[in-house]
């Protein structure tokens, strides 16, 4: 689409004045494409993110824990749908995004390619993974694209429950037996570095960050958010009585922040490329759910057509 100079300057004024871009406004194609990619990847992450914890639904140690875990998985499905709806306002189709996910043409957060080996992982995912997600997501509530920002407000409200239930689960285990405490420490050891990688590559290696920040899609750099997460998490780890597996972790009086070690970026690149422990399993599971659900979608469409209560599947 050829932009008139007037449309371009109106768009830039909206961004500069901290107003929101809305679906039918003119916007640069690169802005639209960046948002579609980011929102779709975010939506896919919520949907795939149900799997690692879903692994423990049938084996939760009590009815209370099971109800909580179910509610959390339902929230994640809901968050995925809010985000797909936001993506659709940019002119893409949800079904097409699902196809791209299961064809491997669109990505989701690498964190979900790690396995959940014990029930302590459920707690650590809530505490660290959802905690990191909150750090990333809170600034997105002020993203320049209106529908995405509004979806994020809704998501952030619900995400706090996810983090707190995780921390409470871990406090319960830490008050238990030595074996339970070891289980927590083992889960922390496995999830700490992948959680730090959730903020993306270091600023120097994150080519699109600068443009996203100019467009006010993104508000803080990857490294800033990572530092904020570490600073928030260290006192929580101390309170819990676990050790974060980083010998370089040390308080820096001058900066008023925690120094920490460098994540293994080659591991992140491997997982992004599909070589993580669970990449194939996650996508296979999503594909199977999609294909196994086809008859339900067809039946609902047929029912709608028969009763004249919806357009149904006319195509």
């Amino acid at each position: 689409m050829e932009a008139s100079a007037e449309a371009q300057s109106r768009f830039e004024a909206v961004i500069a004045n901290e107003q929101r871009v809305e679906p039918r406004d003119w916007m640069p194609e690169a802005y639209r494409a960046t948002l579609v990619r980011q929102i779709a990847q975010h939506a896919h992450s919520e949907i795939i993110g149900m799997q690692p914890e879903g692994n423990w639904l049938t084996r939760a140690p009590s009815l209370r824990r099971k109800a909580i875990l179910l509610a959390k998985a339902q929230d994640e499905a809901g968050h995925g749908l809010y985000l797909y709806a936001a993506a659709e306002t940019l002119g893409v189709d949800r079904a097409e995004l699902t196809e791209k996910l299961i064809d491997g043409r669109q990505k989701y957060s690498s964190i979900f390619n790690y396995p959940t080996l014990t029930f302590a992982d459920v707690g650590v995912i809530g505490w660290l993974v959802d905690g990191a997600a909150i750090c990333n997501q809170v600034p997105l509530c002020r993203c320049s694209y209106g529908p995405y920002a509004r979806a994020m407000v809704r998501i952030c409200k619900e995400e706090s429950f996810h983090q707190r239930q995780g921390y409470e689960l871990l406090m319960t285990l830490m008050a238990g037996t030595d074996a339970q405490r070891r289980m927590v420490q083992d889960a922390v050891d496995r999830w700490w570095w992948p959680s730090l990688m959730m903020f993306g590559p270091p600023d120097g290696a994150s080519p699109n960050s600068e443009r996203s920040m100019a467009w006010r899609i993104k508000r803080h750099s990857n490294d800033e958010l990572r530092q904020r997460f570490v600073d928030m998490t260290v006192p929580q780890a101390e309170h819990l009585g676990v050790t974060l597996p980083d010998p370089a972790l040390a308080w820096n009086e001058e900066r008023g922040s925690w120094d920490f070690g460098e994540p293994d970026w080659s591991e992140l690149m491997q997982v992004i490329k599909g070589q993580g422990p669970c990449n194939a399993q996650r996508v296979d599971r999503r594909r199977a759910a999609h294909e196994d659900g086809a008859w339900v979608r067809e039946a609902a469409s047929a029912y709608a057509v028969k009763h004249g209560r919806g357009k149904g599947s006319a195509e």
Partner: protein, 97 residues
């Protein structure tokens, strides 16, 4: 697989948070028919007592003003400052007005 695409219409969802308030637009969803849209809207947008009433409306049933026409479309109200109470100077010692 592509035959399934876009098969269900889009609905806009409106929630009345509690008695005495208007229904407010909260988002959208796809459903095969009105009933399914209502059930999905309940599951998606009111998991934590966010509402006491829901409306779902087919998106293609909504007629909207276009942002591109914004200036001329809303122009008629732009120059009618006399519609606002502050247009009328009243001496400060006149009470209750």
């Amino acid at each position: 697989m592509s035959g399934e695409r876009a098969s269900w219409p889009l609905y806009e969802v409106f929630v009345r948070p509690r008695r005495g308030l208007n229904h407010v637009h909260v988002g959208s969803l796809h459903a095969a028919d009105d009933r399914m849209a209502l059930l999905a809207a309940r599951d998606l947008y009111t998991r934590r007592n966010e509402g006491v009433s829901l409306w779902v409306v087919r998106s293609d049933a909504i007629t909207a003003s276009s942002p591109d026409e914004q200036d001329p479309f809303f122009a008629p109200s732009g120059d009618k400052v006399y519609r606002h109470p502050t247009f009328y100077p009243i001496p400060e010692d006149v009470p209750h007005i």
